[in-house]
Symmetry: C2
Subunit: 218 residues, 2 copies
């Protein structure tokens, strides 16, 4: 008889690692498109290429699968913000933060959509992570930005809304990909759109945050 799954933390077989990986990969496919409520275990099982009871052998419930997925992805997702360096040059830090976030939107759109779906639907499963670790990290980095502004290195601005605007503009290209493609048109959109976006956003944020010698009267 199989060992109860709760006790499985002791030894991990080769198969366990492989299959759990395979399942989470499939779950990411499904959850990122349909959200938690809209996704079914059967869908995930089909994508994963295994039977439903087999999935439930590795993850007892649909919620456990979603949970494991979120936990694994959340850490990586905050990496760019964590790399934000207080000692660095403000302009290049902001510039490379935008680049990194945009690269993640390009290379890991499913992960972005997974969070977007979750937050959009009221974040019923990750409220604690948002109010805890996320808030803490943002608070910390906001203080860095505020210090830069106080030191006259960048224009005075609300650091929280600055972070929000970088999040939203970059993730937009993952979360609203269909819309972006539709508006740009299939033709010229190609793959240059991330390069174009990077150029635009860097210009916007750098010029928007540089202290300007004189305020032109319009």
């Amino acid at each position: 008889m199989a060992i109860p799954r709760a006790a499985r933390t002791q030894r991990r077989t080769r198969i366990q690692g492989e299959k759990e990986e395979q399942i989470l990969e499939a779950a990411l496919d499904v959850f990122s498109v349909s959200g938690f409520r809209g996704s079914t275990i059967d869908q995930i099982a089909e994508v994963a290429g295994m039977s439903k009871p087999n999935l439930l052998y590795y993850f007892r419930t649909k919620e456990a699968m979603h949970r494991a997925l979120i936990d694994r992805v959340l850490f990586t997702w905050l990496e760019p913000l964590r790399a934000f360096d207080a000692e660095g040059n403000p302009e290049s830090e902001i510039r490379s933060y935008i680049r990194r976030k945009l690269e993640m939107a390009r290379d890991f759109p499913r992960e972005s959509r997974l969070f977007a779906n979750e937050v959009l639907q009221g974040a019923p499963h990750i409220e604690d992570e948002l109010k805890g670790p996320l808030k803490q990290l943002v608070d910390e980095k906001a203080e860095v930005i505020r210090a830069w502004a106080r030191a006259g290195k960048i224009a005075k601005c609300d650091p929280y809304h600055l972070i929000f605007s970088i999040w939203s503009t970059t993730q937009h290209y993952a979360d609203f990909d269909v819309q972006v493609r539709a508006v740009l048109g299939q033709g010229q959109a190609g793959e240059g759109r991330f390069e174009d976006a990077a150029r635009f956003l860097e210009q916007l944020f750098i010029d928007g945050l540089t202290i300007r010698p004189s305020q032109p009267t319009s």
Copy 2:
């Protein structure tokens, strides 16, 4: 016996108007949170305070309800962009576009989330609207912006990505409301957060788009 619903377009009773309104209101509540797949007719029926078969008397299918909702909301949603005036002053046009979009995020968050859910999930029901009317409108306004840049009224920039960035930053406050609240904290967040956002975004976009006399070397 009831008239087949297909033929109901002829005469509309008082009750039809009221009930359809009531249903769409409830549907907005539910669809905007759970998306199409994640929402159930029973949920909507409960919110609407009527029985499930009664809903299905007015809208034959769940899809028809969603469809009607999207159609009604889409027009209003694009109003601010439509108001974008080629003859106006660039700075004040952009400023008031941001304001308008931010007001909509504040006053109609459900509508924003309805679209966000739909687009996020691949826009299976509104692909035509995106590629048709939406693209057309954006193309038109992008040309206005490009003309402003050519005339030296604003800095040169990709007009499409400018529009995308205004969309994403403003709608962020509706779509990711939970996250924004979590990060800002319940205490000081209050209701001033839309005012703060407006201030920040206006500064960002206006300063980011103003032509600067000299590029400071950092």
